[in-house]
Symmetry: C2
Subunit: 422 residues, 2 copies
């Protein structure tokens, strides 16, 4: 018993749980590995632009936190989060028209962690989650990791359709699967850019309540709104205000301040909140008090709404520049929606073009990166689509990126027209 | 369809997954709520003492990170972690005698998150995890949350016994449960303080390999070692060095630097590491680059080992003060081991004393806090035991805490001796 049997390797992956098959390395890892190359124009990752943050004030704030509050900022904190930060989160949510109770908020390491906790709390293997076609891949991976079936539903200009949800309910009935959750990014969705209309929100909320489907409203982009000057445009109400008893709201400062501090939150009905807290404790004990103190001070002491407004103006110009360049360089048969907010533009390509194989290799070789549409589906759809992010690329490089992409797509489409293969 | 049926409340907890029953509020929440009261002497939470950190240097480091590296520190980072920090982690592990490959390390939001990821990766519902009796409650909660059965095994002065593991293998065979993991804190365990001997480590490693049980070696306290001056005492080798193919090592800077920055790591065999990365991505996307940059600079630029050495001297004096005060004030029938390292002291009480009910209420009323032994079991054991933490309490208050506890225990034991109830 006292010496090891080294005659075989234990092959630990044979001991994995069944859910582990969903924790596979990303198929588009190669894209992200190229992002740091300065010769490459990356329209792949959706990073916020941080260069316009008030760095002098941020340095002062961080200095104050460490020098004056270090003993608590560097110590363990409560799992639920700091009251000072929760008070600021309440104000952010008020900007989105949501009147919150601080008792219902839990701070997490980004809204990604809130999503993971909600999935853990609700999903048994074989349960169904409804989501848009296409959807944020980080959410799909969470649901798949809980061995849920994700039914991705087609939408129109107003978001997921009622008919699509009703059809999904029938499919789930037949498959004897319990639809637990509907996941929706109602404002400037990643990756489609779609905003769910007010009427659609009301209908979706009513239908979900009737079928006991809990709604996850994920809203990282709500304040990145290009339409503010447009007459007659009024932001639709948050689902959380339409049916507070049946909606879990996820928020984040990652797009409006900093993703690197990893601060997000969930605002959930009381009985959900009561279980999210011990789930969070088992996951990370607490969110970083240092990050929380910095975020609370930033939101309290800096005119951060002006910073966001300036950034929104910049993102809007970038979106317009990309939109114009795509019109100039993309061949016929490529269609997209002009962004009204958020970070992304979704391009549908002709049916016979596959953006996830040769085309992606060519793009990487030519120095332009995008995310193939298949990354936003779990079921193989999205082959003839791709996502571009304009958030962190200046206008000149956006134009050059569009030019490179246009050249590749033109060759690909001409190739198939002349009988070539994909 | 367009208006909500508000005639019933959706009662979302009825829609929870089966694992959600393990995400219940902590039964000893009342203890933690009292910790902030200055009249109360808390021997409950195991916080590190931070007052001796080099605050001027920390302020300078944080300032440098924000002012010079802000654009990356406040941005998204890679899921696996910053190479600069991983290089420092390698050096920490070398101090524990472990020769690591940086490719096998992933940085997480504390080692708690690594534990959560490993549990997700390995545990199907009904699988068994072996752990010590008693064990760190945060680990027990993670395993329970994955609906595993935790078999808590008795140990002796050298740690979990081979006989206990063999008996557990038989129990699992009979119950047709697959023992996937053995969880062990080999150095100055929380809460028992036990150090697993070198011989026992070899035997446990061999037995686990033979039964295909993967070992989780959780080592937050290895450097908090009071024995360094003792002649002839040599630290036993890490399990990770005894069987690198079958051991996942969890590390943390929470006890040696700061828990508030939430930086821990897993050092795992390659095929486990390959799946931990996407699991971590689904959980939090990445660990905070701000925290990682601060930790890397602190470990690189500060003589942190001298800071730890000074703190270890302080913790040792506190442990000795508590040990002496307990000898002075505790009634006969209470037994404990004099700490050789770590933060904790575990007290076994006479059989008929229950530390989790009236005694705890009395202690709270008298202004001394402890964690009842039941918190370190999932099966109701530990009633006649309690854990004291001496890490963040000065010597005078430790003595006063022991005096208060001694008075309560004396009354309780005399009460039962004279025929009173618990």
């Amino acid at each position: 018993m006292s010496s090891l049997d080294h005659t075989y390797s234990p092959r630990l992956n044979e001991r994995f749980a069944s859910r582990a098959k969903y924790f596979a390395p990303s198929p588009i890892r190669a894209v992200f590995e190229l992002e740091m190359n300065p010769d490459v124009i990356s329209l792949a990752g959706g990073n916020p632009e941080l260069s316009h943050l008030p760095w002098d004030e941020l340095t002062r704030i961080t200095n104050d936190v460490v020098a004056n509050d270090g003993l608590s900022a560097f110590q363990y904190g409560t799992t639920v989060g700091q009251p000072e930060l929760v008070a600021e989160i309440q104000k952010i949510m008020a900007l989105e028209g949501i009147d919150t109770d601080p008792e219902n908020i839990i701070v997490t390491a980004g809204s990604q962690m809130s999503l993971d906790l909600v999935a853990k709390l609700f999903l048994n293997p074989g349960d169904t989650v409804l989501a848009a076609a296409p959807s944020y891949s980080g959410a799909l991976n969470v649901f798949a990791g809980m061995e849920a079936h994700v039914d991705q539903l087609e939408g129109d200009e107003e978001g997921i359709t009622i008919a699509a949800i009703e059809a999904a309910v029938e499919r789930a009935d037949e498959a004897q699967s319990d639809i637990k959750l509907l996941y929706v990014v109602p404002n400037f969705a990643n990756p489609s850019g779609v905003v769910m209309s007010k009427q659609r929100r009301k209908e979706v909320a009513a239908l979900c309540r009737a079928h006991r489907i809990v709604i996850i409203e994920d809203n990282p982009y709500g304040l990145i709104d290009f339409r503010e000057d447009a007459p007659g445009v009024e932001a639709p109400p948050a689902l959380r205000t339409i049916d507070p008893d049946n909606v879990i709201y996820l928020g984040s400062v990652s797009k409006t301040f900093s993703p690197g501090i990893r601060i997000g939150w969930a605002d959930a009905p009381a009985e959900v909140h009561a279980s999210l807290v011990p789930a969070a404790e088992a996951s990370t004990l607490c969110s970083s008090p240092l990050s929380q103190s910095i975020a609370a001070a930033y939101l309290r002491e800096v005119d951060w709404q002006s910073v966001v407004a300036a950034n929104v103006t910049m993102y809007k110009r970038r979106a317009e520049a990309l939109d114009a360049a795509l019109r100039e360089f993309l061949p016929a048969g490529c269609t997209w929606r002009t962004p009204e907010g958020g970070f992304f533009l979704w391009i549908d390509l002709p049916e016979n073009i596959n953006a996830s194989s040769d085309l992606l290799d060519e793009a990487m070789a030519e120095g332009v990166l995008y995310i193939p549409g298949t990354a936003f589906f779990l079921d193989g759809r999205g082959r003839n689509a791709l996502r571009l992010a304009y958030s962190q690329v200046d206008e000149l490089r956006l134009r050059e990126g569009a030019r490179r992409l246009g050249a590749i797509l033109t060759r690909a489409i001409e190739g198939t027209e002349h009988g070539g293969t994909e």
